[in-house]
């Protein structure tokens, strides 16, 4: 292969290098700029040279960075490398660049000037933004996983504890019957057996609820469009008698006709909230209102009662597993956790407002699309 000597023209190399070059005075005034950079910025030479300072090409935030970081570094270190800023070109042109710069001292008058080289990093910047986004997402996921891990630990602890309690009484009572059974009268024995059966029932219930909670995540049914009035009717059929017996009343009101939901799961949310409203009623007969209305891309439901109310510091805790406010009241602290899971499946959120002694309103949204 033959080689041919190519002599580069220095001026042409400077002007048309695949790199931006500019030279500024110590006050930032641009005294030289190469054609490549002019082209990138969309300016004519006479608009820049001796007209604009380097700072004029910066957005305000970068100006501060220039004055507080770049200039001091150049003046102390005489050289900087790989600093990422954005240049403002003509009109809407924005050019992300990596800059390197060097301080040159003029031997004749000891004045300093600065040479900048600029690398267009438009592509790389996009990639960096992707990276930053990915990192933020990863950080969020790690945080979520940490919370899930904590929940699981809590879950295991409480399950163990809650299953142990009835088991302990079963074992205790059976031991008594085994040891002293011969001498016991029948009524006493019968009483003990009943307690044992009740305890076993409690365990069944707990296990069923746990299974239900675990299953909520993996939906078996299809999303369907249903009428709100139909949903409300099912709830009324279920609760009206019970509420009337207590001397109370339940009302429903909706400004929406149709919603798209997983019907069985969705009914369960209302079921849980209404039965809680009855369970945690105050001395006065329960008055329960269920409403449904439109809210910017979502449908907003509310269930309001005049019950005992929930202390402010428990507003979030009630939605966590096994955080029942009243463990003795036939409640295993799973119901609201299930509601939350179902609402999240519908792309919505659930929250509450409450005042002790006055009552509680649970709100939840479901996404329309």
């Amino acid at each position: 292969m033959k080689t041919k000597l190519i002599i580069e023209d220095a001026e042409d190399l400077y002007q048309n290098a695949p790199f931006g070059y500019l030279t500024v005075q110590s006050d930032g005034l641009i005294i030289n700029i190469n054609s490549t950079l002019l082209h990138w910025l969309g300016y004519e030479r006479q608009e820049i040279e001796f007209q604009k300072s380097f700072q004029d090409l910066l957005i305000m935030g970068d100006k501060i960075y220039y004055e507080t970081h770049i200039m001091p570094m150049l003046l102390v270190q005489n050289e900087i490398a790989e600093i990422n800023i954005q240049l403002k070109g003509k009109g809407l042109i924005r050019l992300p660049v990596l800059i390197n710069a060097k301080r040159i001292v003029d031997s004749t008058n000891q004045e300093s000037f600065f040479r900048f080289s600029l690398l267009d990093i438009t592509q790389r910047r996009k990639y960096e933004l992707e990276l930053m986004k990915a990192r933020k997402e990863a950080e969020t996921t790690v945080q979520q996983l940490k919370e899930i891990k904590q929940d699981l630990e809590q879950f295991a602890y409480v399950v163990a504890h809650d299953l142990k309690t009835p088991l302990r009484s079963i074992k205790g009572l059976l031991s008594i019957i085994k040891n002293k059974g011969d001498k016991m009268d029948n009524t006493k024995k019968q009483e003990y057996f009943n307690v044992v059966i009740n305890a076993a029932d409690d365990m069944y219930k707990l296990i069923d609820s746990l299974l239900e909670y675990a299953r909520t995540g993996s939906v078996q049914e299809e999303m369907q469009e249903v009428t709100v009035s139909g949903i409300f009717k099912t709830q009324l059929n279920f609760f009206e008698q019970e509420i009337k017996k207590l001397g109370g009343q339940i009302e429903t009101h909706s400004t929406i006709k149709y919603i798209t939901v997983y019907p069985v799961l969705f009914q369960q949310v209302l079921m849980n909230l209404i039965s809680n409203a009855i369970k945690y009623r105050s001395e006065t007969p329960p008055i329960i209102q269920v409403t449904c209305k439109d809210q910017k891309g979502y449908t907003l439901f509310s269930v309001t009662d005049n019950g005992m109310g929930i202390p402010t510091d428990r507003f979030e805790a009630v939605f966590k597993l096994f955080r029942s406010l009243n463990p003795n009241n036939d409640s295993n602290g799973i119901g609201l956790a299930i509601c939350k899971k179902i609402i999240e499946l519908h792309g919505g959120t659930i929250w509450l407002e409450s005042e002790i002694g006055k009552g509680t309103t649970f709100y939840f949204t479901i996404r329309k699309d």
Partner: protein
């Protein structure tokens, strides 16, 4: 205790004089900013230089996000430094945000300070209804974004490589990873503490004699702001340098030295 504070703020003491001259660097860099100024004063004064916690070679583990939320945290450190080193009749020289840090310290403990020399001070960077600070809230958000885009490097230690003169290699090596580079979270919070504060009211409470050194044009602390500071501080003098930018101690050190010397002589003459 004194050892701990000295390490915490990377305090360096030099000079053969008695009266202490305490130099506080501004936002962005560290005590090396004073390198062109200090030689002029080392014969007559005791020079005390330090890095704010979170900057330069200070103890990063001492950075408390609650304490340094506002510049008050740094002012407390300044007082602590004076007390620990038993500094009296201090001539305080502060650049940029440190001017205000000095003002806060002098308002709280006027007994410690003889004079304040403020280079490019601004009590409030954000424009208010009756005040022009030069910036909008958005500008500070942009700055944070720029800081963030330059952290990509920081986190993997490819910090902007800073190379000094070949003959000063040791010095360059020492500076490489400290001068103007900062832990990203600290840099963001320091930026907010610096640029979002409003300490205009404190200026009126200053009782120490004060010199304000102003550049023109200065994007960070414009002339109007320097004039505002001058009007607000009762016993203050104002010098406008023939130098652009925000760091005259780097760009025009001879002018800064001359104005400080004139100010100090004038004062001692009056005494």
């Amino acid at each position: 205790m004194s050892e701990q504070i000295i390490n915490r703020n990377n305090i360096k003491i030099s000079g053969s004089g008695k009266q202490p001259m305490l130099f506080a660097h501004g936002y962005g860099c560290d005590q090396h900013m004073w390198r062109y100024i200090t030689p002029a004063f080392e014969k007559e004064f005791k020079l005390v230089l330090f890095d704010h916690v979170g900057s330069g070679k200070s103890d990063q583990t001492a950075y408390d996000f609650e304490k340094y939320k506002t510049v008050k945290g740094y002012a407390d450190d300044l007082i602590e430094i004076c007390d620990t080193l038993n500094l009296k009749e201090v001539i305080f020289v502060g650049h940029s945000v440190s001017s205000i840090i000095g003002v806060l310290a002098a308002v709280e403990r006027p007994d410690l300070f003889d004079k304040l020399i403020l280079i490019g001070p601004s009590p409030c960077y954000i424009n208010k209804t009756d005040y022009v600070g030069g910036f909008k809230q958005d500008d500070i958000d942009e700055l944070i974004a720029t800081l963030e885009s330059n952290y990509l490097g920081w986190s993997s230690y490819i910090t902007p490589v800073i190379i000094g003169n070949p003959e000063k290699e040791v010095y360059a090596e020492e500076l490489k990873n400290s001068f103007c580079s900062m832990n990203p979270d600290i840099a963001k919070q320091f930026a907010r503490a610096t640029f979002l504060g409003d300490n205009r009211e404190d200026l009126f409470k200053v009782t120490s004699s004060t010199l304000i050194i102003q550049c023109h044009p200065d994007v960070i602390a414009p002339v109007e702001v320097g004039m505002f500071v001058h009007k607000a501080i009762p016993q203050s003098e104002y010098v406008l340098l023939n130098s652009p930018g925000h760091c005259p101690h780097l760009t025009a050190p001879e002018q800064v030295i001359a104005s400080i010397e004139a100010y100090l002589k004038n004062k001692s003459f009056e005494n």
